[in-house]
């Protein structure tokens, strides 16, 4: 029972981080019609910048988070200018390869900056432990759920309640007509690059204290987040949230009890299964073919 509770807690926490990263894809995909392969390395970058600000610079938690997220926003802008804008009028796959190139550059830069030795980011709540139903749960996992919960709600409000959110959804529906409405498409692309970089960075900051951070840290998370985004239909906020938690729990429980050696790739398995059976996602209505 203790094990079950502990695994569930870690599954929920993982699902929460997945939601953040997957939402990053979603925002960007809605605005630009492309999937950003650099997202995983943005997660890695967020974690390393977090380590730099807290461990190396010794900033307190909140300022270090803020500095990290601000830097991530800048990186998002640079990414848009270098890897997306020049390819805007190319077929989608070409633009995607542009983000792939950006991913390699980003990883190379991180490697030069931080080397290849894994590093650790201490949790803002330290080693605090909370007991739920008798099972000890790391306080950091609760922090993850709370912070991502807030972030997801903010993104949800952004999507449904603001003019920018409406423009994003309109862009996803029909980019040409959206331009006819006078929407500044370039600005929308920039903002969504910033938003997705910030979300990725936040994901990195939150998940880093659970394990060690190395150069491929974000990449694996990205594949699983892809699974969540696709499972959720790549369009709907609710679908992505549900899919992220399903995958998080599945990975923790199935990986914890049965397929111990394979827990880290259950997301990949699920992704392949979904792509084989329902490439359009489980929760989606018919959307454009990706």
């Amino acid at each position: 029972m203790d094990k079950f509770i502990a695994l569930t807690a870690s599954g929920i926490a993982y699902g929460a981080v997945l939601t953040l990263v997957a939402l990053g894809f979603l925002v960007l995909y809605n605005a630009t019609g492309i999937v950003n392969f650099a997202n995983g390395d943005l997660v890695t970058l967020g974690a390393y910048v977090g380590i730099w600000t807290t461990v190396d610079l010794g900033l307190p938690t909140i300022p270090s988070f803020l500095v990290t997220l601000a830097l991530m926003a800048v990186v998002g802008l640079v990414l848009e200018a270098l890897a997306y804008e020049p390819l805007r009028n190319q077929p989608a796959l070409v633009a995607v390869m542009g983000t792939l190139a950006a991913a390699i550059i980003l990883r190379g830069v991180i490697g030069i900056w931080q080397g290849s030795t894994p590093r650790a980011l201490p949790s803002p709540v330290g080693d605090a432990v909370v007991h739920i139903g008798g099972a000890p749960i790391a306080g950091h996992r609760i922090l993850i759920v709370v912070v991502s919960g807030i972030a997801v709600c903010l993104v949800g409000l952004l999507f449904t309640r603001t003019s920018f959110g409406r423009q994003l959804r309109a862009l996803a529906d029909d980019p040409t007509t959206t331009r006819l409405m006078g929407v500044r498409v370039r600005a929308a692309a920039r903002i969504s690059f910033v938003a997705s970089a910030v979300l990725a960075g936040l994901g990195g900051l939150l998940i880093a204290p659970i394990g060690a951070v190395d150069l491929t840290f974000g990449f694996n998370l990205m594949i699983t987040a892809f699974a969540a985004a696709i499972l959720g239909g790549f369009g709907s906020l609710r679908g992505v949230v549900i899919a992220s938690f399903v995958i998080g729990l599945l990975q923790a429980l199935v990986g914890g009890y049965f397929l111990v050696g394979y827990s880290s790739v259950l997301g990949a398995v699920l992704l392949l299964a979904v792509l084989a059976v329902r490439p359009s996602g489980l929760f989606s209505m018919e959307r454009s073919r990706l």
Partner: protein, 231 residues
């Protein structure tokens, strides 16, 4: 209000619009007539800069020829595209709100409530998603969305396409109301509807203007009409 000089559009080897020129006075209304493939939609798309073109376009004296599409819209040349293009995943109300973006700080004839007054059937549908609308409802949303952008000139492409006679009548009535104070360019294949809405008309064939005059004259020249407009 709108002056177009020697507009040309090429799609690869297709020369779709050949030297079209016209002028539209303030609160004037112009019907663009012609058979399928005559280049009517291409003229509108060129004016709103969705397709590349050559020639000059002036809106209220300002040269808008080289602006990108979103700036043209923001300048008040508003294009209600063929096929209505209502955003399927946005609700009716949200679709109308999208129209407001183009307005910027320009003063507008129509506020959202005025659009609901112009098209009363939309009022109960505020929350319905765009994909669940009938053709007539979608056309009302599309026209309403255009009006909310505070058009100096509104260009409507085939408003009656695929609508029942009754619905066509509703939309036509609304456009006539609008034309009292807003300049209109209406693309139509339905001659009766077009000439009722607009005071002037030009007829396109294979991308060239072959006839221009008042609506009554164009409608009156029976043989010309039948030979140019039958496909």
């Amino acid at each position: 209000m709108l002056r177009v000089d020697s507009l040309e559009v090429h799609y690869g080897s297709t020369h779709a619009v050949r030297g079209v020129s016209f002028e539209l006075a303030e609160a004037g209304s112009l019907a663009l007539l012609g058979a399928n493939g005559a280049g009517k939609s291409s003229v509108l798309s060129a004016l709103s800069r969705l397709v590349p073109s050559t020639g000059q376009v002036h809106l209220a004296g300002e040269d808008i020829t080289r602006l990108p599409a979103e700036r043209v819209t923001r300048a008040g040349l508003i294009h209600v595209p063929e096929g209505r293009r209502v955003f399927p995943s946005l609700s009716v109300h949200e679709n109308l709100l999208m129209g407001l973006i183009a307005r910027g700080s320009r003063s507008a004839e129509y506020a959202i409530d005025d659009v609901y007054d112009l098209f009363p059937p939309l009022r109960p549908l505020r929350r319905r998603s765009g994909y669940a609308l009938s053709g007539g409802e979608a056309q009302m949303v599309a026209v309403g969305r255009g009006l909310l952008g505070a058009p100096n000139v509104m260009m409507v492409d085939e408003p009656s396409l695929g609508l029942s006679p009754l619905m066509t009548e509703t939309v036509a009535e609304a456009l006539i109301t609008v034309s009292a104070r807003t300049s209109l360019v209406v693309v139509e294949q339905n001659l009766q509807v077009a000439t009722r809405i607009c005071s002037d008309a030009i007829v396109l064939r294979a991308g060239e203007v072959v006839l221009r005059g008042s609506s009554a004259d164009v409608l009156g020249s029976e043989d010309v009409v039948s030979s140019y407009l039958s496909a």
